[in-house]
């Protein structure tokens, strides 16, 4: 049984198509990340699942029960779907324990359920605090405990980490992921942060202009994006133009194997290469598959660095970026050789794709 099944879900506001024929499936215990830029419709999708907004057509099934279709439109309070909004939004007039107990029946409220939830989110003994006495991260934890307490069939997160600072965000992500695994909760995370989506989710759905353009596990999504836009959205990418012949690319980098699913023959293709596929070395132009270039500048980020290169005029003269692990040893104006490791993605060239 699927935990969530969405078929042909559409909704339009007065002038905009907010959701276009969305199809989604989610297995029990998994986390789905809905990733997209702001205004892509991901929040509308989340709110339609929760029942705060009503779609125009399509069906939504949660845990095998239809909550929305042509005849049915269950009210939010009947759907058994937990909701964790941005910044948590705890009830300011209730203590932490009462916040967690808010959705519980009287019987459960008096049981040890609230303490269990406090322990789960690592805030044992803080039940009598008031929300304004908590830090942002703590509030978010309580918001999760409140959503999980009535054992919902699905938990929705609406950009839950965007208000937190970077260090706290990383910790909380890991914690929340393990808490959800511990109770086996099925969840959906809406975010515009690709790193968040890739690191937390089991399945990622990329949305653009109201449509779901690709649904895949994080690794496939990163390695085999469905088009150039998705490629650029989920990570850094270098795009070059080349011809594809018999599943191989004749490029300035020599013959490159094309990943399966890409066009095998194409007069003009856009080729997407991830920064970490590049290997930079000392120039040895006699070896095949090597290209020479000049270092323009490097940006150092600590765990890695981005090297900006200008290819030799004999190789096209393009500027490309390459990610290098560790501390870079390249000086501006230094000459280097560049090789490419592994399969690359190729797409039929469209003018706007490069724009």
């Amino acid at each position: 049984m699927k935990a969530l099944q969405i078929r042909h879900l559409s909704k339009s506001f007065t002038s905009v198509h907010a959701l276009k024929d969305i199809q989604l499936d989610l297995e029990e215990g998994q986390m789905l990340a809905v990733l997209g830029p702001s205004g892509c419709g991901k929040t509308t999708l989340l709110r339609s699942i929760a029942g705060f907004e009503t779609a125009d057509s399509g069906t939504i099934e949660v845990g095998g029960h239809i909550v929305f279709d042509k005849q049915t439109n269950l009210k939010p309070e009947k759907r058994r779907i937990g909701y964790v909004p941005q910044e948590g939004v705890l009830f300011p007039h209730l203590s932490v324990a009462k916040n967690i107990g808010f959705g519980l029946s009287r019987k459960d409220r008096n049981s040890s359920r609230i303490d269990e939830m406090l322990e789960l989110v690592g805030m044992k003994g803080l039940g009598s605090r008031m929300p304004h006495e908590l830090s942002g991260g703590q509030q978010q934890r309580i918001a999760l405990a409140r959503a999980l307490a009535p054992s919902p069939s699905l938990v929705l997160f609406d950009e839950p980490f965007s208000a937190l600072d970077a260090g706290l965000r990383a910790d909380l992500r890991e914690d929340i992921k393990s808490m959800l695994k511990k109770v086996g909760a099925t969840s959906i995370l809406v975010t515009h942060d690709q790193e968040e989506a890739l690191s937390m989710a089991d399945v990622v759905a990329v949305m653009r202009n109201g449509s779901c353009v690709q649904t895949a596990d994080p690794i496939s999504l990163y390695k085999y994006p469905t088009d150039i836009k998705v490629a650029k959205f989920v990570g850094d990418a270098t795009i070059i133009k080349a011809q594809v012949l018999n599943g191989n690319i004749k490029s300035l980098f020599g013959n490159l194997p094309v990943a399966s699913g890409c066009p095998k023959d194409c007069e003009l293709a856009s080729v997407m290469i991830r920064p970490e596929q590049f290997i930079i070395g000392k120039p040895d132009l006699h070896l095949p598959g090597q290209v020479g270039g000049k270092v323009l500048k490097t940006f150092f980020y600590g765990h890695d660095a981005m090297v900006y290169l200008k290819l030799d005029d004999s190789f096209g003269g393009d500027e490309i970026q390459i990610r290098v692990m560790g501390t870079p040893v390249f000086e501006p104006d230094e000459y280097v050789s560049i090789q490419i490791d592994g399969e690359v993605m190729a797409y039929v060239h469209e003018d706007e794709a490069l724009a």
């Binding site: 929760a50 029942g51 705060f52 907004e53 009210k75 939010p76 309070e77 009947k78 759907r79 058994r80 779907i81 937990g82 909701y83 909004p85 941005q86 910044e87 948590g88 939004v89 705890l90 009830f91 300011p92 007039h93 209730l94 808010f102 959705g103 008031m130 929300p131 304004h132 509030q139 409140r146 959503a147 009535p150 919902p152 929705l156 208000a163």
Partner: protein, 524 residues
């Protein structure tokens, strides 16, 4: 909280740890302290005149008990009814797609423009049976509920929609969510409005006199003005003051525990309004009935009397002269109030210490005292110690300033808090002296707040009846006084032109303030 207090106290005792306060800043505060002590002095003075034993006898008697019951009963009932009306109208205007939403938002606040004594005049001129408790509750609730509507509407607007959505997602229906989540969120706004109404009911004079319902305020006026018994008036004032303090204490008690503010600070999402469906019809009927009762009846009656009265002929020179004095007192009173409020606000915002706290809190306390008591105290002091001031315009203007100071203060304060201190410091570092900085930097930035304060006080002064009756210079009549005189003699047609003019000129500031609140107020 307690720490902050002791710290402030220490700072003020241990001398001027912060910047030195200029004399022009703390003199007004001193004056304010003196003025706020006047009612107490007045009561003590009168009591010692008649002898303490007699004074105590004047307090503990059957008549006082009867007045106490009357006053409390009225204040409680009117507050309760106003809260019910105000919360309902606020909810419909802010949360539903009721047809004509923007229009209703203006219409429901219109009773602000109709002083309670004017609407009670219109009701009893229709039928004298409106006299007594029932009529008083009807008339006063209809003119008071905007005091609940406005803050509650603002609180509803500022509330994060996610709060209610979470409650829905946790299994509560819209109705249950309203009581479990929305209502607690509205509590501070609701409480503020309710306290204000209760205090107004203690102070209300004109409407209750017309409606023939005795409370402390009307009884004090009778004792002073009709029976010329100042000792009895003073002792009744004492009980009234105690009642005020009880209400203020009650507020502290209820609010004390509710320390919560909204937790998040992100921008709330735009809210989806609720479609009413067939419920729109009863809702519209309700709003229409409310508008007819609260605005239609007063306006209709006044129009009727205007039309029938025209045949009898109005005394136009007198109408114009009282219109002129109303506008003159309104302008004078609001300017004096603003001038008085400015140093208080600057002191409260830019300096810390006991004086600042006093200047911040004291006017609110004075504002909760009935205008009648303040008027009486000022009259008796003027008669005794400053006779040249007695029944002069300056005394009346000071009276207005004392009564309406908080209105000016809160408007200026709101604007002033938007002016960062650094801005003034930058101007200073560019070689400007403090006075130039004030006129070139501070004043232009707080101008909108000053404007709002001016119009608010202007409005209140024009509607003021009680203190005006006591303090006005002989022979000078405002519109409110004229309405009072004519209606007391049951000359309804003669009151009409004054009432019409009063509503007309006070309607404009109300309209401006409401539109402002609807377009820009977004409480965080």
């Amino acid at each position: 909280m307690k720490e902050a207090w002791t710290q402030r106290l220490l700072q003020s005792v241990s001398g001027f740890r912060n910047k030195r306060r200029p004399v022009w800043l703390w003199l007004p505060v001193l004056l304010l302290v003196v003025l706020s002590c006047l009612p107490i002095f007045y009561i003590v003075m009168r009591a010692s005149e008649v002898g303490w034993e007699k004074a105590i006898g004047l307090i503990f008697r059957a008549r006082v008990y009867e007045l106490l019951i009357n006053t409390v009963k009225l204040a409680f009932t009117v507050t309760l009814v106003s809260v019910l009306i105000g919360v309902t109208t606020a909810w419909f205007v802010e949360r539903t797609r009721i047809p004509g939403r923007k229009m209703w938002n203006v219409v429901v606040t219109l009773p602000f423009a109709v002083p309670a004594f004017v609407s009670s005049y219109s009701w009893i001129s229709i039928y004298s049976g409106f006299e007594g408790f029932g009529g008083a509750v009807l008339v006063l609730a209809l003119s008071s509920y905007p005091l609940v509507h406005l803050p509650v509407a603002a609180a509803l607007r500022g509330m994060d929609p996610a709060l209610e959505e979470i409650s829905r997602s946790l299994g509560y229906s819209r109705m249950q969510t309203f009581f479990k989540v929305t209502l607690p969120h509205l509590r501070p706004a609701l409480l503020g409005g309710a306290i204000l109404i209760a205090l107004h009911m203690l102070a209300e004079f004109g409407a209750l006199a017309f409606l023939n319902y005795d409370t402390f305020t009307t009884a004090i006026f009778d004792q002073y003005n009709v029976a010329f018994n100042s000792a009895s008036a003073a002792m009744l004032s004492l009980v009234l003051l105690v009642l005020c303090l009880v209400i203020l204490g009650l507020e502290l008690l209820i609010r004390g525990k509710a320390k919560y503010a909204s937790v998040g600070k992100g921008t709330p999402r735009k809210r989806e309004l609720i479609s009413l469906g067939w419920m729109a019809i009863p809702a519209l009927i309700g709003f229409t009935v409310l508008a007819v009762l609260a605005v239609g009846v007063p306006l209709g009656t006044i129009t009727y009397w205007l039309l029938t009265g025209t045949s009898a002929g109005f005394d136009f020179p007198e109408v114009f002269s009282s219109l002129f004095s109303t506008l003159a007192f309104g302008a004078g009173g609001s300017i004096v109030t603003i001038l008085f409020a400015f140093p208080l606000v600057i002191l409260a915002i830019r300096y810390r210490g006991l004086f600042s706290t006093l200047s911040d809190r004291l006017p609110y306390f004075i504002h909760s005292l009935p205008g009648l008591v303040i008027g009486l105290a000022m009259v008796s002091f003027a008669v005794r110690y400053a006779f040249p001031l007695y029944q002069t315009a300056p005394l009346l203007l000071i009276g207005y300033a004392v009564l309406f100071l908080p209105l000016a203060q809160s408007s200026i304060r709101g604007a002033m808090e938007q002016v960062p201190k650094q801005l003034e410091e930058v101007a200073g570092s560019l070689g400007k002296n403090p006075l130039t900085v004030f006129f070139k930097v501070t004043l232009p930035l707080v101008a909108p707040g000053v404007g709002a304060g001016l119009s608010l006080v202007f409005l209140e002064v024009m509607k003021e009846l009680t203190a005006t009756l006591l303090l006005r210079p002989t022979g000078v009549d405002t519109l409110a006084v004229k309405i009072w005189e004519h209606t007391s003699n049951a000359e309804f047609a003669a009151s009409a032109p004054y009432a019409a003019l009063l509503i007309l000129i006070s309607g404009l500031p109300v309209y401006l303030l409401t539109m402002r609140s609807f377009t820009q107020k977004k409480e965080g």
